[in-house]
Amino acid sequence: MEFAFVMQCCLVALVGVAVAAVFSMIPGLHIYNVIAFTMLLAFAAIDLFKAMDPLLTTCFIMGMVVGFAVLFTVSSQFFQPCDDSFRSMMLPHERFLYEGRGFEAVMLGGFGSLIALLLIAGVFPFVTGAIGLLRELIRPHIYWILGLVSLFILISEWPKDHGVGKTVGQRLRDGWGQLGMGLFVFAAAAVLGMFVFYNTIIPVQSAFQSLMPVFIGLFALSSQIMTVISRAKIPPQHYASSVDAATHDVARGALTGVVAGMFSSLTPGLTPGPALLMSAHATASAGDKQFIIGGGAARVLYYIGALVLFFMPDVYMRRGGAAINISLFFVPETTEQYYLISGIIALAGAASMAILPLFARMCGAITQKVDFRHISLGSMVLLTAIVWGVTGWRGVVMMLVATALGLVPNFWHTRRIPLLAVLLVPVSLNMAGVGSKVAIWLGFR
């Protein structure tokens, strides 16, 4: 590989980071949506695209994914305050914002991201054999592992009532109101997922993005609506020159995040949310800081770690939207390419980490000048336009149905994690070979 070509790869990766930084300003926008849009543009200008070395486009996408994985939560951190009247409890990073510590939350998450980046770029190249072996070992078992995660999501919905009812019936009703809605959300999301997989109304030319409207509806748009109707006020933020994080908090948070990230990156159909839920329990994570650091590490390992498996000798696993899109035009062949990608990750990661504090300060400053509701409103319009542009009016209909379901947890004080049944259940059933039977039973075939 020539030096000049490597330099070109580095350059386009840095451009990818810059593009990701711009799009990370929009809360709710997912990098896979941006990649899909990039691919549409690439296919529109197919002659130009074909003339480029596919590894250059790959490095550009890699830069985008790295930049996004490190930066995308910053806008949510600052622009999506949680209205506590819609919550049973606030998550630590949400509370940090109300305490003027949004910047601290970002930097703690950054610690997790940094550890995950070091692991991917510095340790992964030496353990490809072990990762390949693990992947080979669990591959036939993925369907029940996903079933297990689904089961844990259902079982870990514990009552949060305060047990103040005077009669047994009242107490059961108090506890099971919230519990039951958690189960309902899981079941409804699973049915929606089966519909999307077996009888989607998305036009066939957009079928490669058939999950996009559902995911935007369930997670992004519903959150934006909650933000728009929120009556919260964001206090002025404090920008500390150092972060108070004990070594053990960083170590335990990173352990939680690494376990979750590895678990989700090696298990198709699993996202970092449920993986982090299980990992935080399994590693007995405790406290706000460990939670935030773990989240940062898990996200980076999931987005970047899963993508790097596509290039890894002994593994070559196509996992996640970015890998699927890259596989449309590039097939990894050599160890040299893998080392180049590892270097690109290190470079893009370093650039992203350098941007992170500035990016956080900028977002924090924006909250004091622009009403966060307007940002979310703008984001809603943009997301709807993207869904319309990529999947047409049918996609918008799917998105609206998913949005309605995505709003349910907010109004019933349940967790949002059961919404992931939209992916977990159909993927698990399909892998077990019974997906079509269930679809027929549901009337979707």
Binding site: D84, S85, R87, S88, M89, M90, P92, R95, Y98, L133, L134, E136, L137, I138, P140, H141, Y143, W144, G147, L148, L151, F152, I155, S156, W158, P159, K160, D161, H162, G163, V164, V168, R171, L172, G175, W176, L179, A246, T247, H248, R252, M278, H281, A282, T283, A284, S285, A286, G287, D288, F291, M431, A432, G433, V434
Partner: protein, 408 residues
């Protein structure tokens, strides 16, 4: 232990059944999930059902407008004496005081069995994380008892309230504390102090014993019949029913009805359930193991608390290692062969191969990492815990490092 720990131990138990693992290669059944389901079944029954049927004789509800510690202390003292006087169990529930979505007004109670006193101190506002992390800052029981002897319970509880993580400057000034006295001799089966903070708040049951003392049970609805060997036996038929071919039964085909999956499900359900009971026995609370023949929870072995990070981590790691081993051992073609067994023909059908590969795996994948983890535990104990836990005495040795994180 934590819910996920029971869940994983259950799955590890199920993975020891070859059919549950081999099914991934042909039938693609979800048999192994039964391990997780029944592994956590005991807590599911307790926390989602049994607790709602529990009735209380006294219920203490302190409000932010009236932060009166006497309400809790006097009620508990009265309940202890009432149990002794009437000879019947008396149950008390301490309700939490939710201040806002984020914050809970905490208060702590301490039952001193030697001085026959119940103390209560109104504490600061805490988040859920603060409350759950309290155990990591608590000193050991013996250290606590010595400090109470020396400084009195209010001073000790006040120190806990002020030094454990909480919202700064949120404790009432001056400190609101109250000591109530009781007459009966007591047998406290749990920690001497408890904080009322999150979820639904703790319960106590005061039960007269034959020796004249009053036994104090913490969250008495927990680990009764649901955490028993007896109930575990009843889980077998449920597991069997889930995998039995009921159509075949009505067609008169008993062999198909009691198919191998159903038979395996029978034993997986029982063993995963028992595994939960066994793992819980390592904690403080214990379980009522053989109802209806036994009436009370036996005491736990007190090796750790349910919230202790390292014991949970270790058990989860061992469970994951067992699952991975079984995935390999029961695969049609094993993915890896440990070096010690390399060159021995026959694979897992050869006993020598099995033993050597298992020894190699246990040594390298389980024992060495756990020794490494234990070294970290020792380091953690001497560096972190010693520096972070609340010091009640000058010569603090860092004993009982697991802390009083509560047992669930």
């Amino acid at each position: 232990m934590k819910g996920i720990t029971h869940f994983l131990v259950g799955v590890a138990t199920a993975s020891c059944f070859p059919l549950a693992v081999r099914s991934a290669y042909d039938d693609k059944s979800y048999l192994i999930l039964l391990g997780g389901l029944f592994g956590i079944m005991s807590d599911t029954l307790d926390f989602k059902f049994a607790r709602y049927f529990w009735k209380h004789d006294y219920r203490v509800r302190i409000t932010e407008d009236n932060l009166d510690p006497a309400a809790a202390a006097e009620t508990i003292a009265k309940a202890i004496d009432e149990a002794a006087a009437t000879g019947r169990p008396v149950r008390v529930k301490l309700d939490i005081l939710r201040f806002s979505t984020n914050y809970y007004r905490t208060y702590a109670v301490m039952i001193d069995d030697r001085k026959k006193q119940v103390s209560c101190v109104i504490g600061p506002l805490k988040t859920m994380s603060h409350c759950m992390g309290r155990g990591e800052n608590m000193p050991g029981e013996e250290s606590k008892k010595r400090a109470v002897e020396k400084d009195g319970p209010i001073a000790v509880l006040e120190k806990f309230a002020k030094e454990a993580p909480a919202l700064p400057n949120s404790m009432p000034v001056p400190t609101r504390g109250h000591i109530a006295s009781f007459k009966a001799d007591v047998n406290n089966t749990y920690y001497s102090d408890a904080e009322v903070g999150i979820f639904s708040g703790p319960d106590f049951e005061f039960i007269p014993q034959k020796d004249g003392r009053v036994r104090i049970d913490f969250i008495p609805w927990h680990r009764r019949w649901t955490h028993s060997i007896t109930l575990g036996l009843l889980m077998g038929p449920i597991g069997f029913a889930l995998f039995a071919d009921w159509g075949a039964l009505f067609a008169g085909n008993l062999a198909a009805f009691a198919n191998p999956f159903a038979v395996n499900a029978f034993f997986i359900s029982i063993l995963a359930f028992w595994a939960h009971v066994f793992v819980d026995q390592t904690g403080h609370l214990g379980s009522n193991l053989f109802p209806p023949w036994t009436k009370f929870r036996s005491l736990g072995w007190r090796w750790c608390t349910s919230a202790s990070p390292f014991p949970n981590l270790m058990v989860n790691y061992i469970s994951a290692a067992i699952i991975l081993w079984n995935m390999n051992a029961f695969a049609p073609t094993p993915v890896f062969t440990p070096p010690w067994a390399a060159g021995i023909p026959g694979g897992f059908t050869n006993m020598t191969y099995c033993i050597l590969s298992l020894l190699n795996y246990v040594g390298v994948v389980i024992v060495l990492p756990l020794l490494f983890l234990y070294a970290i535990v020792l380091l953690y104990r001497h560096i972190y815990y010693k520096s972070r836990s609340i010091r009640l005495e000058e010569a603090f040795s860092g004993e009982d490092w697991a802390g009083g994180g509560g047992d669930m």
